[in-house]
Symmetry: C2
Subunit: 441 residues, 2 copies
């Protein structure tokens, strides 16, 4: 089954909102064996929308639209798509009752009720997280049409819980199975170089992708059944694992933070964080994972030196002589927060995320990341000042990822200060274990 | 001039990478008065790419392609686009010399050299941040074609420094000007209802958009000059301002956090945060803004009750009798962090972000958000348990946005506990000022 995805919305077309729906839908469709050949975006303009829908319906088996189902006047997707697909619309009484329940106790205007108007004879796709239902129906041209709401928080559950099961029933049995082998500490270029000859297959395939200071290798196979696809992938995955070694941290759709939270939960270890330049990004990433309250004791965002001394017990002499952005301060932050929180592990991050604040000795991008378990403290250094200067968001994300990678390596018994590509390139030695300093609590 | 944007790359089509290039190019084009009517993505498949290019060239004045200019085997954009546009390719000697300089001291293979092959007679667009040059040329069909590289770090400088100036010279003088009026505390539905009659104009236009627990109204005008477009927008914007009142928080491309950081900087006031369920999301949003170190003193992420007592001085009796998720605990967290940090303002957030941990009295989504200035403490309550349960990420984002909105209202002298749509709908009274409680520091 060949599919196209059409996103509707002037805000997407003008570039004021980045379209993440298309990527999500494409990935979901391929997971049930549906090929996406083409995706497009049109604004809230009925003529251009109608032409785009007609073109799509003339060449694809499945058209998925996103956006334009809401109550506002520019939400014209339903009317226009139904017209292009040659299917009439009517008020769906079941949906209307559902909608009135949704608005129970609140005002439900006429524009809200319009959301229950749907193509006659369609399969209704429930919206568990909003008011506008979606639908699935067959166009006069013969292609299936699925209409989904635009907000990702509504689209994702509707797609996963209702649209995909309905579509899976409609198509010939074929499965496209993918596994993501996620890598931290090697760039995409170096990863691709290590795997060069393995990236040329056709079924299964392997391809590298860059992603937020990380990269991943996707292995994909297509077969009649999942077990068959999996068997086709195994030998290739084995080779990739062997070449990437410790840099490979998971083979699931799990992030670095999920991997770390799960690891801590399994080992019943707790963590506390002291952050300067990352400003709470690390604690936020950890606590975004449900259940993290079991393993996360405390986070401190200590911007001012005064607070570093007072809350974390960093020596005023260290701050004066070595500076707030130093190997020694990072060590003491990790040790201090661990003591303060009474946790098994402590992390300290201090650095210069920019755009201001850099000096020749400590350029923008210089960040020290320390991990302490009480007996030992390890420090990684992101050198900064190499190649082009990156954004504040980049350095913050990278530093928090390094911290997570250090915990991951600690928990799995790997060397915490692995010879990473990044510090090595800097010509700055990767930091060795820090001398322990006992603090007055 | 009507434009289309065509992105090339199987990684985009499969949804493994989110396409941010299109949004950037669309915004840049509209800033010089070029309308984008349609955007699309195709994979690295020459037949489908050629058909998409031919369709575009038959209906637009300008086609911008992104991606597929690099040295790897699947980079086929140039060959295919040139064929569809009826223009031959040839090795560009100047570009080749440039490329050899770029690779100075490194190996430059034949596949690398292919990057200097360009449409005959094109304007070369320099790549200051990578190896593959872009180009601008006129197709046999009469439309202009601009080809840009895919990586945003290469695309953005090429677009800004070379492509936009070249395009600006090609077109009739016209400017599309947009202003975003950002709203917190009213949903998109209610906002659209208040503005209903104002959303029907054609030039200027106004339209509403939902965005991460907020919404915004975009006002757009098209004219020969910026000043003229601005003059056309003013009366409409005045009417919108009058109807939205306090819910409108900025008219710039500024987020709630930027608005708050700028407000604090202007008034030379400092802030400290104590977060439970948001886990550092609020401090992270604040410190993502460059310069926030001037106004942000300290953040504490206090998950465990023990830490709430120890670090923030929350009464153990309060925690025992009222619970960690309570009006009183939020108050004491805000007051406690303010004292601890010695800041002008303190924020406390405590709640149940889910998916676990809810009870009939305190359902998932219940969050208390307190702001203290030493003299007064105000508390907002997100009730939870109304309508359908939303994601952990949703409640965390909403709670941190409420905190920012409270600070914004405080700084501009507005009532901090405005009668928001959200708590009112809950039937739970919006909290009144909290009795002050002095703590032993």
């Amino acid at each position: 089954m060949n599919a196209e995805i059409l996103s509707v919305g002037t805000e997407l077309l003008l570039g004021h909102v980045v379209n993440t729906d298309t990527a999500y839908v494409a990935r979901a469709l391929s997971s049930i064996g549906i090929n996406v050949h083409y995706t497009a975006t049109v604004g809230d303009n009925p003529q251009r929308l109608q032409r785009a829908v007609e073109e799509s319906l003339s060449r694809c088996d499945l058209l998925v639209t996103t956006g334009g189902l809401g109550p506002t006047e520019d939400d014209l997707t339903k009317e226009t798509v139904a017209r292009a697909a040659g299917v009439p619309l009517a008020m769906n009484e079941t949906c209307l009752q559902e909608l009135l329940r949704y608005f129970a106790g609140r005002y439900c205007g006429e524009n809200q009720k319009k959301q229950a108007v749907l193509p006659v004879g369609c399969t209704v796709l429930k919206n568990d997280c909003g008011s506008a239902p979606g639908c699935l129906f067959r166009s006069r041209q013969g292609a299936l049409v699925v209409m989904l709401p635009g907000p990702p928080g509504e689209l994702i559950p509707m797609l996963e819980n209702y649209a995909l099961p309905a579509l899976a029933g409609q198509q010939e049995k074929a499965v496209i199975l993918s596994r993501n082998l996620r890598v931290f500490g090697l760039g995409e270029g170096l990863t691709a170089e290590k795997l060069e000859d393995l990236l040329r297959g056709s079924n299964p395939t392997a391809a590298t992708y860059a992603l937020d200071n990380e990269c991943f290798v996707r292995v994909t196979a297509r077969a009649a059944q999942e077990s068959e696809a999996l068997a086709m992938m195994q030998p290739l995955m084995e080779k990739i694992r062997a070449r990437l070694g410790n840099y490979l941290y998971t083979e699931e759709y799990a992030s670095l933070e999920e991997t770390v939270v799960q690891g801590l939960m399994r080992q019943k270890k707790t963590l506390a964080t002291a952050e300067s330049c990352t400003g709470g990004l690390l604690s936020q990433r950890l606590t975004a994972i449900s259940g993290s309250s079991e393993i996360f004791e405390m986070g401190a965002v200590t911007y001012a030196n005064r607070i570093k001394e007072q809350v974390l017990g960093v020596c005023s002499q260290t701050l004066r002589e070595k500076g707030a952005v130093s190997y020694e301060t990072a060590c003491q932050m990790a040790q201090g927060i661990r003591q303060k929180a009474g946790s098994d592990l402590g992390i300290g991050i201090t650095g210069i995320a920019g755009p201001g604040g850099g000096t020749p000795e400590k350029p923008v991008g210089r960040v020290y990341i320390a991990l302490s378990d009480g007996a030992h403290t390890w420090v990684r250094c992101m050198p900064g000042g190499i190649g082009r200067t990156r954004s504040r968001a980049f350095y913050r994300q990278a530093a928090s990822s390094h911290a997570l990678d250090m915990v991951r390596r600690y928990l799995t018994g790997l060397p915490v200060l692995e010879d990473l590509e990044f510090p090595r390139a800097a010509g700055i030695p990767v930091s060795s274990p820090c001398p322990q300093k006992e603090k007055n609590s």
